[in-house]
Symmetry: C2
Amino acid sequence: MIQVSQALSIISENSCKMPIKKIKVHKSLGFILAETIYSPIDMPPFRQSSMDGYAFSFSELNQFDIVGVSQAGNFSNEQIKKNQAIRIFTGAYVPDCLDTVVMQEHTQRNEQTITIIKKPNALTNVRSKGEQIKKEELVLEKDTLITPAAIGFLACLGITEINVYKKPKVAIVVTGNELVKAGKKLGKGKIFESNSVMLKVALQGVGINKIKTFSVKDNLKNTKKTLQNCLSKFDVVLVSGGISVGDYDFVKEALLYNGVEELFYTINQKPGKPLFFGKKDKTIVFALPGNPASALSCFYIYVHLALKKTMGFDSVHLNKIKRKIKTPFQNTTGKSLFLKGFYNDESVTVLESQSSAMLNTFATANGLIYMPYNTELVAENEEVTVIPIN
Amino acid sequence: MIQVSQALSIISENSCKMPIKKIKVHKSLGFILAETIYSPIDMPPFRQSSMDGYAFSFSELNQFDIVGVSQAGNFSNEQIKKNQAIRIFTGAYVPDCLDTVVMQEHTQRNEQTITIIKKPNALTNVRSKGEQIKKEELVLEKDTLITPAAIGFLACLGITEINVYKKPKVAIVVTGNELVKAGKKLGKGKIFESNSVMLKVALQGVGINKIKTFSVKDNLKNTKKTLQNCLSKFDVVLVSGGISVGDYDFVKEALLYNGVEELFYTINQKPGKPLFFGKKDKTIVFALPGNPASALSCFYIYVHLALKKTMGFDSVHLNKIKRKIKTPFQNTTGKSLFLKGFYNDESVTVLESQSSAMLNTFATANGLIYMPYNTELVAENEEVTVIPIN
């Protein structure tokens, strides 16, 4: 049995980045960039007006004849005399012979002439070519998280494809003779299967969509066969149930039989003590406790970390926050606890009813409060670590 | 021109909840529940062992003959005598005549008999029927955000469908003769269109997937026609560009022509001053500034709020955090500022280069720092409001 911090280190070390793939920019939200990107163009690609107004060549003159119009998207580069100006709009091309734009609000127009009332400095309101970024300059560094802003930036440079780290394909393996699919009749001694549905949406919440669910009865042969198949075809295997020490818990045996290396089994924590983590080749395996609330706690604390690591996230992206606890708390168990809590911007409250079998409290919690095994008493307003869970 | 806080209030008041629809539980992640849910069953549906061990009828006896097995998913309710026990596993049915389970670690087994070494109290390790939740008891209140835990909870009660507030269908209307689709040749005076791609992924980031993009040239007739179509078919219309006061900015005129009520136009802020917000029937309309960084700022500050409101979120779900600012900041503009920043768990740093035309900084920011128009100086370590942006 190991401590929480050891478990997290082992997971972190053993969850390797996925291979790289090329992806369309408009589909890259939430991926991690696997290359450094340099600009293929100057942006803006031409000298551009940053205002609606009049473009002219700066001199002592304050009165101009209007001889043309430059609207965004049009292009004209005619010669314009010193005493001439053109009507110009935001984003429009500034002809080479002009250097300054006066805002329309600072002019007085009289048919085809304008008088400047408030004169700008020379070169004002003209964005130079490449002012935002020059060709070959750095756009985004390798390992950047792709956000809407990053996608907008890439798109405005005309970049349509980038290399990112793949997201893992995940198998969910649900074990248990007692499980009945929701919508079916609930026979005596049976319960509705909920872990596969819950884990699937939790995975979707992390941005993972290649997920397949398998059900096996509590039977060693079937468990071995299903796991063998999953280990060869998926990057991450999540097994739900069948991992405690009861006679009918075949999962650990079936994993070892299939050549999975045990990296840890059981953590000094509550809930979620019987958690198995292992690896075969590059596939990582979690065998989660069967009861829903324990399984979900382990998902947020451990599986989440592993998934993010495989997707190329580094620690800076991992979600841990500090909050002042509203309710003093005593931990006399000698185990690390993860308590369902509700946090706001300042503090966190321990919710009532922490039983590991129950999702009731979990469904209204927004964080798990971490109480290390060696912390006996946490006083009111002391800072604690919270793992956000939605 | 109005202030930021007024704009937020107007948006909040005018963004109405979408109609209700029935949805499969496994597809309901991120929706807001539009009904209160009561449990259709007792959970657990039967008296259940919470341990691997032996079930017996509590008495002065400490030695028992093992006469059967109850495994999770099986059901047997035979009569068992006082000096008899059965092998039982976690989650398994406890026959009516038995009341206590002893952990296997606290027994000594000798072929078909066991001796209890450490005797539990009566009724220990047996979960009573309905211990987690009883039939007809409250499962989830109306207006709860559907999280993985909520989905797990509903699924374990056999609930397969729930009523939620719909998510809005969103039209993105991009205006501008200067815009060229990425991947095409960039003619003189043209730039790559990026706002539609960026707004689309930003919407996806909020969980909205019914999005359609329209492009119109700077032409009043086409703009009117496209907007008319969008106003009749979508719940939210986002127009990008064409909203400043230049001669070629037709959007406002086209909106008013189509019967959109102007709720505000222009905010005393930077970036994003020329922001239009209006409404026709239940469709809300934002006309965003054309430049990408301003458009995205307005999205996170204003559109995000409106979308969440339509999806049934209330203020408790809205994302605003407080951080200590690392860099003192002076605001002499008289305008409210939204500065691109990078925050960690404790503090926030104002990033360099805040120009509204540039997405460079935005792409590496994770928050917008709000500097109200009437705050002239913010000292180092003073608390500021940050809007997280990814």
